[in-house]
């Protein structure tokens, strides 16, 4: 591996300096960045390129099940989004669905994360339960919900016994059911995201607030909540993206109110209308991006304002 005498050549010097190091530690023995190339090539071929191709089909014309004409670019599929009530409703339902999931998850996740972070006795077992349940299969959980949310199921029965409702609530095969099921699926993730956020808020801050005369509710609302804002916002974004893209649970619990991802599946499996499916996919992605962009801007405004 010996080479000739090292020439005092600026070009060779810059070659070794091309691997940019913060300090001159290891230039010859650094881990080669090339190790990441196989994965990137693989992902480009299997993921990025096919997606781009698929999105382009949105501009083609469907010529029957499974076939489409891509010779001319058309926007008629997008037009259908606006004209046909099915698609309009789907878009609306999807947004309502995703937003509901976000709110419900934060509502449940914040207390859970807080308790796990603060409680010495219950914290660890709670965390263990959260993690273990997060690994159970999605179908298993859906099956459980089908029992729990059914017309004759425990929730409806209990509510009726308590006299709160006269007739069973339609929970299963409806949008609320899809929301509930999806919340269940994404809650562990959010809890795991929020626990470090809670850990970082020192207990002494809460004690100080109490010492200054604030009640628990006020302390939580005015101290803990604002301090966890960044984490809550981050979790909201993650949950939103997750909900928009989630499929299995809403498909099995949503009944006739189909959200976009379910609709896409239907377009492919039943109608085999690829251009429409592509249009819906593009719309879904666009919605996620737009909402997240708006939300980040809104957040930034609040911070500076």
């Amino acid at each position: 591996m010996t080479t000739t005498q090292a020439p005092p050549d600026p070009k060779t010097a810059s070659l070794t300096a091309a691997v940019r190091l913060p300090r001159p530690r290891t230039s010859r023995t650094a881990t080669p960045r090339a190790l990441i190339v196989p994965l990137i090539v693989f992902q480009t071929v299997m993921c990025f390129a096919p997606q781009l191709y698929f999105y382009s089909i949105a501009f083609a014309t469907s010529t029957g099940p499974g076939a489409f004409d891509a010779s001319q670019w058309t926007l008629e599929n997008f037009g259908q989004l606006f004209t046909s009530p099915i698609y309009r409703n789907a878009i609306g339902d999807t947004l309502v669905f995703a937003v509901s999931v976000v709110f419900a998850v934060l509502l449940l996740g914040f207390p859970l994360a807080y308790v796990i972070s603060r409680s010495r006795t219950w914290g660890v077992p709670l965390l263990a339960i959260v993690i273990v349940t997060s690994f159970t299969s999605v179908i298993v959980r859906v099956l459980g919900w089908k029992i729990l949310l059914g017309d004759a199921g425990p929730i409806n029965t209990a509510l009726q016994h308590l006299g709160l409702i006269a007739e069973p609530l339609r929970l299963v095969n409806s949008l609320p059911g899809a929301v509930i099921g999806t919340v269940n699926a994404v809650l562990p993730l959010v809890v795991l995201l929020l626990i470090p956020v809670m850990d970082q808020i020192p207990r002494s801050v809460e004690d100080a607030s109490a010492g200054l005369g604030a009640g628990r509710a006020r302390t939580l609302w005015r101290v803990v909540l604002p301090l966890s804002r960044a984490g809550l916002l981050g979790s909201a974004f993650v949950t939103f993206a997750y909900a928009m893209g989630s499929f299995t649970t809403p498909a099995l619990l949503g009944g006739n109110s189909m959200i976009l991802s379910v609709l896409i599946s239907q377009q492919v499996r039943t109608s085999v209308n690829y251009p429409m499916a592509a249009t819906l996919a593009l719309t879904l992605m666009a919605l996620v991006v737009v909402v997240l962009l708006v939300a980040t801007r809104f957040d930034r405004k609040k911070v500076s304002g």
Binding site: V19, R20, L21, T26, T29, A30, P38, L39, I40, F42, Q43, M46, C47, P50, Y53, F54, L108, P111, Y114, R118, G123, L126, A128, I131, V132, T133, F135, T136, S137, V138, I139, V140, L143, G144, K146, I147, L148, V183, L187, L192, I195, P196, M198, D199, P202, R203, S204, D207, G215, R216, A217, L220, T248, A251, S261, I264, S265, R269, A277, A281
Partner: protein, 285 residues
């Protein structure tokens, strides 16, 4: 747990200096409620497997093991397919993901954030969209190059590796970042080649993270519906997809029996993982 100052007052919900107020009680109730929401469906599903009634009223009036006996043998078949698929996917995610994670963790200079985002991007894509796109891709391959992988195990594995690898990377990068480079330099100085050092020194250092990543990859693949839905073939139906169809069209208590079996399997896997890796590491603390 982390985040506790040793001298701070005992501010747990159990014993505290300030009075236990109503708010804390409410917090506790909501937390418990959340917990029930998390664990409830699984428990209910398992219990449902033991019920006599065909329509699974809850709680079951009679207890039986009948439904376990009548599990359609097809389920074992598709379970086998899923197991194979998940195993192959895990192997793929290790082969592609571990070197990538190392490269990412040790990335010098700009571009690290961008490459990291790029490599993790499959996490952001709705799996339905990816599944259909992959389907289109396979169709094109067939049309233009005559390669038929739609419906084959290969086709499924390739697609699953795409969605599983970001999990492997997420599990390995934090540990890889913490690996002290001097250890590898020491190995070089003692005469070990870079390849040898990689396999005898670096990989063992990442063992726990790789195991965690492998488990995530395995479960992601084993549990997947949207991607498999579009890429399956006659002989390659996967367990979750079959369950998906059956739940939609022919809901029967034997499904719950299958669900119970699956849960036992996954819970055991998680228990092993917690053993090997530790609860704290899993939760990222």
């Amino acid at each position: 747990m982390s985040g506790r100052t040793p001298s701070a007052p005992a501010h747990s919900l159990g014993k505290r200096l300030t009075r236990f107020s109503l708010v804390d009680f409410v917090l506790g109730v909501v937390a418990v409620f959340g917990l029930i929401a998390l664990a409830g469906p699984t428990i209910v599903a398992i219990i449902g497997a033991f019920g006599r009634d065909r329509y699974s009223t809850f709680p079951p009036s009679e207890w039986t093991l009948h439904w376990f006996a009548t599990i359609d043998p097809v389920y074992w078949q598709v379970a086998g397919t899923s197991l194979t698929l998940a195993t192959l996917t895990t192997v793929g995610s290790i082969v592609l993901g571990v070197p990538a994670a190392l490269a990412l963790a040790r990335w010098r200079g700009r571009g690290r954030a961008a490459i990291g985002t790029l490599v993790r991007s499959p996490l952001q894509i709705p799996y339905v969209v990816f599944g259909v796109a992959a389907l289109q891709f396979y169709l094109v391959l067939d049309r233009t190059l005559g390669i038929e992988i739609l419906g084959t195990m290969t086709g499924l594995v390739l697609a699953h590796v795409v969605i599983a690898t970001p999990y492997m990377i997420g599990a390995v990068v934090p540990t890889a970042t913490g690996l002290k480079e001097n250890v590898e330099l020491a190995a070089y100085g003692l005469g070990a080649s870079r390849t040898r050092t990689f396999f005898t020194i670096t990989i063992p250092g990442l063992k726990n993270a790789i195991v965690a990543g492998a488990l995530f990859s395995f479960l992601i693949s084993f549990d997947d519906v949207p991607v498999s839905l579009f890429l399956m073939g006659a002989g390659t139906q996967t367990l979750p997809v079959k369950l998906y169809f059956d739940t939609q069209f022919s809901l029967s208590p034997s499904l719950y029996a299958v669900a119970a079996v699956i849960t036992v399997f996954t819970t055991a896997a998680v228990a092993i993982l917690m053993r090997v890796v530790g609860l704290k590491r899993l939760s990222g603390r």
